[in-house]
């Protein structure tokens, strides 16, 4: 699914530069669940944005099904996002003026799905996350957990190939966190998704097949429990522990 080679990302800050990503080499297989852990400000979300084409690397390549996202035009990357990538954010990021169903439908608008089918699929996606009876509610009328469910429905309604989740349980209490992670796990299995989940919560990360640690802009694979670990391990020569680097100031 993904092959990252030598990906770096630098941000100017005053007179200096922040090295948010430093030479990331990573391969993500189809159907894999990768969790990325690490302290705040070490590049986890930046890496996720690279995977989702939300930003461009300073150098390196990001192959997504053989296409380098770094080289595509903006309209092409937008198209890839619309068709193949679902996002879930820590703060849910629902449009406050649209109902739950309309928020889910918003993900189908770029695909020019006819209105009737759009509505049907949105209803079905909400039913999958257990919110069929909340379709007409505005986000302000939903709890945190319910809003995140709507966000999950929105991410999955277009049947993406990849689900990128940035701290999906960060704003939720423990009980709701488990609910949401349980739901994500179920949907990951049921839809054969490739999922990359960024979290600082070890309890959440533990449930993934593979765990990577981001520290100072470098990625180290800490744990790999995938069934095809043995075969993959031979190709994981680039997942070496990071060298000592100065702490990013971003």
């Amino acid at each position: 699914m993904y092959k990252l080679t030598g990906v770096t990302k630098d941000y100017p800050k005053g007179r200096g530069v922040v090295h948010a990503l430093q030479g990331i080499d990573l391969t993500i297989e189809d159907g894999e669940w990768l969790a990325i852990q690490g302290p705040t400000g070490h590049g986890k979300s930046t890496l996720l944005q690279m995977l989702g084409g939300l930003d461009r690397p300073t150098s390196g390549s990001i192959l997504f099904d053989g296409e380098d996202l770094a080289e595509l035009r903006e309209s092409q990357v937008t198209r890839v996002r619309a068709e193949s990538i679902g996002f879930i954010f820590q703060t849910f990021n629902l449009v406050p003026t649209l109902s739950a169903q309309e928020n889910v439908e918003a993900a189908l608008v770029p695909l020019h799905v006819p209105t009737a089918e759009r509505r049907r699929r949105a209803e079905s996606a909400l039913a999958d996350v257990g919110l069929a009876d909340r379709a007409r509610h505005l986000p302000s009328e939903l709890s945190g957990g319910q809003q995140q469910r709507v966000a999950i429905a929105r991410a999955l309604v277009k049947e993406p190939r990849v689900l990128l989740a940035d701290e999906p349980t960060g704003n939720l209490d423990e009980g709701t966190r488990d609910e949401i992670i349980g739901l994500l796990e179920k949907l990951w299995r049921d839809h054969n998704l490739t999922m990359v989940l960024v979290t600082h919560d070890s309890m959440v990360a533990r449930r993934a097949e593979r765990i990577g640690i981001m520290k100072n802009g470098r990625l180290t694979i800490k744990q790999d429990t995938r069934a095809r670990t043995t075969a993959a391990a031979a190709g994981q020569a680039q997942d070496a522990p990071a060298a000592q680097q100065p702490t990013p100031t971003a």
Binding site: Q49, R81, N93
Partner: protein, 498 residues
């Protein structure tokens, strides 16, 4: 989705949207009101000018009278018993005087009318004579007093006022009937003059004069001792001081005199219509070249001579009014742009999320522009309403406007120095006459004043302009905000903390 999102978003920031819409409405309403006011003032000016010299007349041509040629001034000679020699009848003889004379304008040859009509870009030309018919009955005194002067002497020197009426010799040939003062008159009874009356002793009388002189259709009116049959009565605005009687030009030329000379083949005003408004100035120049000694005046010249509240209103509308409405409109556009940009700034995370979902920049910008245009259209609708309200208030609450044209000698107003109802004060010794019911007309020393009611019409053009301004306001505001939204990368947008 587009309309749902638009509707919900405008409802969410209803207060801000209302402020933007009201700002635009104010600007647009002001533009419409000022446009209506300008249009109304222009129309009022046109009414004034048309009432003075005819509906289709674009240019009038007159000449300065030669010295001593005034009818009614100190140098006028009466023709006693029709003799032009001025020889004095026997003392005690009663003499009836009825003279038709040119007042205040020099004479122009009739051939000049034909020449003017043949000029390029001239649609029509007509000649006219504005004359004064003065009647008096005097008894020749036994003393050796002068033979001239107004008024009658009767033994001990008691004055009595002669009567006079203004007479317009009207050109009835071809399409000349569309020019001149009679063309603005409304037929009240009978018929108007036509080309068949060119040499007939027929007359059309002004309704006010007919009322005061007890004339009806079929009556006769005596001009220069000739009886004219009244065939029609017309009404015109009294404030424009129309002629009392209209007779065919040829008859006026045959009967009238100027400084003792016959007016045969002569006119004292030429009315000219250009073939288009754009050619009025060109035609004016051509006539000036043809008749260098004549005074050529077109509507623009007369408009400049207009004084009174019409002129003030015109100046107010075109200067202060126009600039004020432009300033308010610019301020409204600026406010709309700033508030829209501010609203976009608050929705950066929202737009970043939509881009993450695969919404293109164009779709996001389209949403912002759509919202702004909707606010603009709402503002435009309210603005049109405000414009109608403003113009209605102007129409109903404004006092009648006054307009005056300086009656300088040779002015293009028909009859030159138009005659007006005066209070007397004439005669060899000065003093006032016991005029009673008689109307004595003298060469004008007063400025004519016309009263017109200002109507400020809202035209379809003004409404169309309002719609365009509303959409433009929305486009500017939305474009500015949308541009800001489009520039952001989704990652930067998502990193923004709301």
């Amino acid at each position: 989705m587009f309309l749902t999102y638009l509707r919900r978003e405008l409802r969410r920031r209803a207060r801000q949207a209302s402020i933007i819409a009201l700002g635009l409405a104010l600007g647009i309403g002001l533009v419409i009101t000022v446009t209506a006011l300008s249009s109304g003032v222009k129309s009022a000016q046109g009414d004034v000018l048309h009432s003075l010299y005819g509906q289709d007349t674009d240019i009038t041509v007159t000449k300065t009278p030669a010295a001593g040629s005034f009818g009614g001034g100190a140098g006028t000679r009466f023709h006693f018993g029709g003799s032009s020699s001025g020889s004095r009848p026997k003392a005690g003889t009663k003499v009836n005087i009825d003279n038709l004379t040119s007042t205040g304008l020099g004479t122009i040859s009739g051939s000049d009318v034909t020449s003017a009509g043949k000029l390029r870009n001239v649609a029509a030309a007509a000649g006219g004579l504005t004359l004064s018919d003065v009647k008096d009955s005097i008894t020749i005194p036994s003393s050796s007093s002068s033979s001239g002067g107004f008024g009658g002497f009767s033994g001990s020197g008691t004055f009595h006022a002669p009567t006079s009426m203004t007479v317009d010799g009207t050109d009835l040939s071809g399409n000349a009937a569309a020019l001149g003062p009679l063309s603005t008159a409304k037929l009240a009874s009978g018929r108007t003059l036509d080309s068949g009356d060119a040499n007939a002793d027929v007359a059309v009388v002004d309704s006010d004069y007919a009322k005061s002189s007890k004339l009806t259709v079929g009556s006769t009116v005596t001009i220069a001792k000739t009886s004219f049959k009244v065939v029609g009565i017309v009404s015109q605005s009294a404030s424009t001081d129309p002629p009392d009687v209209y007779i065919p030009l040829a008859r006026a030329q045959a009967l009238g005199t100027s400084a003792g000379k016959s007016l045969k083949g002569e006119v004292n005003t030429i009315y000219v219509a250009a073939d288009s408004a754009q050619n009025i100035t060109t035609v004016s120049k051509e006539i000036s070249t043809l008749m260098p000694s004549a005074t050529v005046t077109n509507q623009n010249d007369l408009a400049k001579q207009l004084t009174g509240s019409v002129a003030s209103a015109s100046s107010l509308a075109s200067n202060l009014g126009r600039w004020l409405s432009i300033a308010v409109l610019v301020a409204a556009f600026l406010l709309a742009s700033l508030l829209t940009a501010s609203a976009v700034s608050r929705r950066v995370r929202e737009f970043g999320t939509l881009k993450a979902l695969g919404w293109t920049s164009r779709r996001v910008v389209g949403q912002v522009v759509g919202e702004a245009i909707t606010i603009g259209v709402i503002g435009g609708i309210i603005g049109v309403g405000l414009g109608f309200l403003g113009s209605t208030l102007v129409t109903h609450l404004s006092s009648p406007l006054t307009a005056s044209v300086s009656p300088t000698t040779g002015s293009a107003t028909p009859g030159g120095a138009r005659t007006f109802t005066g209070g007397g004060g004439f005669g060899p010794g000065g003093g006032s006459f016991p005029g009673g019911a008689n109307r004595f007309r003298a060469a004008a020393s007063t400025t004519p004043t016309v009263h017109v009611h200002l109507i400020a019409p809202v035209t379809a053009g003004a409404i169309a302009a309002a719609v365009i301004l509303a959409i433009l306001g929305g486009l500017i505001a939305g474009g500015f905000g949308g541009w800001r939204a489009a520039r952001l990368r989704p990652a930067a947008a998502l990193a923004r903390v709301e």
